[in-house]
């Protein structure tokens, strides 16, 4: 029997069944329609483009039945049986190859007091020596230090960013300790949001710096959580996946550890802190996640030094009374932490950050900016339109401000001009005054000169007159002597 006939008969059967169930399907799609079995499925109803109610399955976001705006066509979701090997089972491999060539980003935030062992634990987790100098206890406030590293394992490239809280818990007044942390996390979300809202954006090669996991280091007091811890965790739980761990667990004895753990968990629950829940919906990882969750918070010991144990070298801490092996499950929960954080749930942590925490931030931010999805008439707004309206408003404000500034500027210019004019007038007056005084003085000098010249003239005249008189007198005298002489001569004869 040719395969085609078989297939078509099955098809005919299905369409018959489909025809009967058509009505029911359009109201409440049966589970065979949507073959995604995730419990996060939910149904909602929304209006489609023509204003008709249609059921929307949240896991696919698919409107059932699928509508094609150009009409025609039967669009029921049917499971079709294949009569041969088609070959799309290589799809997951294609996807993985793509992701491998792009590389992965993973960002860890370590929150804990100075000296609690954050850097050592990171070194131990990733089996390498990240360079960092130990912080002092004298920091005036909490600041965050982010460092990026490139790790490569077989063909997987990981861009790891480790963010450290420097100075956490060192201040005398720790009221604002959590604020820089929250600001940093928000800043990363904001950067991603900005990139997403850009018109020309490149999301696929965007270096994602959003924090995927927050390791909260609890001091091993053995009693309970400190109030600083509670407050900080409460502030962070809606923004990031928190994994609490007990640091320096080799200072607690085993029986105390058990009590300590249960005390911490009960305190977290009673205070409503939502820590990261390891996913238990996927069969392959559900079991391991469930067993590991029981051991939360993980009591870890970090060490980069190696000690000879038996005939192997292993990471451990050597004390006079014994050796604490890091990778020994009886000694501490380091192996569990590594399993959970890296080997089993890394992808889920990233997904949670993107789909839950980032979406929440985005929603809050956009609502704060004034956007809404629906207006009172329950007709959906478009984000772009509201954005345009806001932009016009903003531009209008900007223009108004510009006008004001221009006016002020003009006024100031006028004032200055007036001042300058006055100053100029004064200068002119001064100049005139000076000129007049100068002229007067000149006149005086000239008068004096005239007088002087007159005097000189008079003097000259007098001199001339005097000289004339003198010469006359001389002549007369000479004549007289001559006459005298002549007389004398005459008398002799």
């Amino acid at each position: 029997m040719p395969l085609v006939a078989r297939g078509s008969r099955a098809l005919a059967e299905r369409s018959r069944k489909g025809g009967a169930g058509e009505a029911s399907r359009s109201r409440s799609p049966s589970s065979s329609q949507c073959w995604q079995t995730a419990p996060r499925r939910s149904w909602s109803r929304s209006r489609d483009g023509r204003g008709r109610w249609e059921t929307v399955c949240e896991c696919w976001g698919l409107a059932i039945p699928v509508r094609c705006a150009f009409g025609a066509g039967n669009e029921d979701l049917r499971n079709l049986s294949l009569s041969g090997h088609v070959g799309f089972d290589s799809l997951p491999d294609q996807l993985v190859n793509k992701s491998t060539s792009q590389g992965f980003c993973f960002n860890i935030l370590c929150v804990g007091e100075t000296g609690i062992g954050k850097s050592t634990l990171m070194d131990t987790l990733f089996n390498t020596k990240f360079e960092n100098d130990p912080a002092t206890h004298n920091e005036p406030g909490v600041r965050l230090k982010a460092r990026s590293y490139e790790l490569q394992e077989s063909n997987v490239r990981l861009k790891l960013t480790i963010v450290d809280t420097v100075g956490f818990g060192d201040q005398i007044n720790k009221d604002d300790s959590y604020k820089p942390i929250v600001e940093y996390i928000d800043a990363q979300f904001e950067a991603y949001l900005q990139e997403e809202l850009k018109i020309k954006r490149s999301l696929f090669n965007y270096h994602d710096t959003r924090i995927h996991a927050c390791l909260y280091f609890i001091a091993p007091t053995g009693h309970s959580l400190k109030s600083l811890d509670l407050v900080t965790m409460k502030k962070l739980d809606s923004k990031v996946n928190i994994i609490p761990i007990i640091a320096k667990a080799d200072t607690i004895a085993k029986n105390e550890l058990h009590k300590f753990k249960s005390k911490i968990m009960s305190e977290l629950v009673s205070n409503g802190v939502q820590i990261y829940q390891f996913p238990t919906d996927e069969e392959t990882v559900a079991e391991i996640n469930a067993t590991m969750s029981v051991h939360l918070p993980f009591a870890v010991v970090g060490s980069t030094e190696e000690v000879k144990i038996g005939n192997k070298m292993a990471k451990a801490r050597q004390y006079p009374w014994g050796v604490v092996q890091v990778e020994n499950e009886n000694h501490c929960d380091f192996v569990k932490l590594r399993e959970m954080l890296i080997r089993v749930n890394m992808e889920d942590l990233r997904e949670q950050t993107h789909t839950r925490h980032y979406e929440l931030y985005r929603r809050c931010k956009l609502e704060e900016m004034g956007f809404k999805d629906t207006d009172p008439d329950s007709k959906p707004f478009s984000l772009q339109e509201t954005y345009e309206a806001k932009r016009n408003e903003f531009l209008g404000e900007l223009q108004k401000k510009e006008e004001e500034m221009r006016q002020m500027f003009v006024m100031r210019v006028k004032e200055k001009e007036a001042e300058l004019k006055e100053a100029e007038k004064e200068l002119h007056e001064k100049f005139d005054l000076l000129k007049r005084t100068h002229q007067e003085e000149k006149k005086k000098v000239e008068d004096k000169k005239k007088e002087l010249e007159e005097e000189v003239n008079n003097f000259q005249k007098k001199k001339a007159a005097a000289q004339l008189l003198q010469s006359q007198a001389q002549q007369a005298g000479a004549q007289q002597t001559k006459k005298d002489k002549d007389k004398k001569n005459a008398s002799f004869t």
């Binding site: 073959w35 489609d48 049917r78 799309f88 590293y149 790790l151 800043a187 950067a191 710096t209 984000l383």
Partner: protein, 361 residues
Amino acid sequence: MDPLRQPPSPCSPRPSSPRTQSCEMLGYVGIEAVLDQLKIKAMKMGFEFNIMVVGQSGLGKSTMVNTLFKSKMWKSTLPGLGVPTPKTLQLQSVTHVIEEKGVKLKLTVTDTPGFGDQINNDKCWDPILGYINEQYERYLQEEILITRQRHIPDTRVHCCVYFVPPTGHCLRPLDIEFLQRLCQTVNVVPVIARADSLTIEEREAFRRRIQHNLRTHCIEVYPQKCFDEDINDRILNSKIRERIPFAVVGADREHLVNGRCVLGRKTKWGIIEVENMAHCEFPLLRDLLIRTHLQDLKDITHNIHYENYRVFRLNKSHVLPRGPGWVNLAPGPAPSPASPQATPRTMKVCRWTQDNSDDEC
């Protein structure tokens, strides 16, 4: 501790950015387990693929789709005597879920009966462009909502298979016009339909002429040369580009040949085996579309064509209609040759290279 794994192949060197230091790991950490996690997540979520077949009636589009996916997607329509030819182009979509070895694929096939069938085929590409843009619009509207869905349904056309009639000469003006317009918005894979009417030499000559035509008119069909990432891709893709357009034959009946059951067409002079590389190039098309480049088709649609559309749309936001955008979207906005044509040509895909660290926060 396990010994260190091998370093990456030298074919894809990626220089490390100045801000990130590369660290040597002294032992096995387990980072590569993230690949398995990815696979599990992908298998759980399932895959989507939307394909559009365009061509004149009678070229074997429906049969080809059935052959590609080895199932009865469509009933091949024979023009009945009483059925009048549709006056305008009507697009029909069919969605099926197919599963193979645990991998679920939601496949949507869009057919275009009536394309090129009228006497006056002017602007026959408008409804198709309109449909493609409408899918982009739908996705865009979902993406810019404030309360977004966890997984936005992807109805964008990932691949358009264009059937060239086997005239043996060269591309017709209709083909050229259509390909020119569509290559800007969607990945187009041209194929020579009904290739069993051409001999092998005629096929080769036809193919050369078509490639020449494509080059002359600057039509970039998939795989586009400008989106090749690294040397491996380029080598692989140039091999494919040499064989484009594939000469294919579609068949959904099985026949007995040498004791094997093969898909083929039975004629008086022999049986044309569909999956035989000596007879036709159907395996190449199938491998390209499904086995090797499916994810790449989706990626290029999402990262490039959709982004182009988004830029175009957001820049023209003063004509944005209220509400879900497809209410009164006339065939169009058929991108005017001016604006978005410039962008895809100059826009190059730079995948995640580490020297892009300067556009981070």
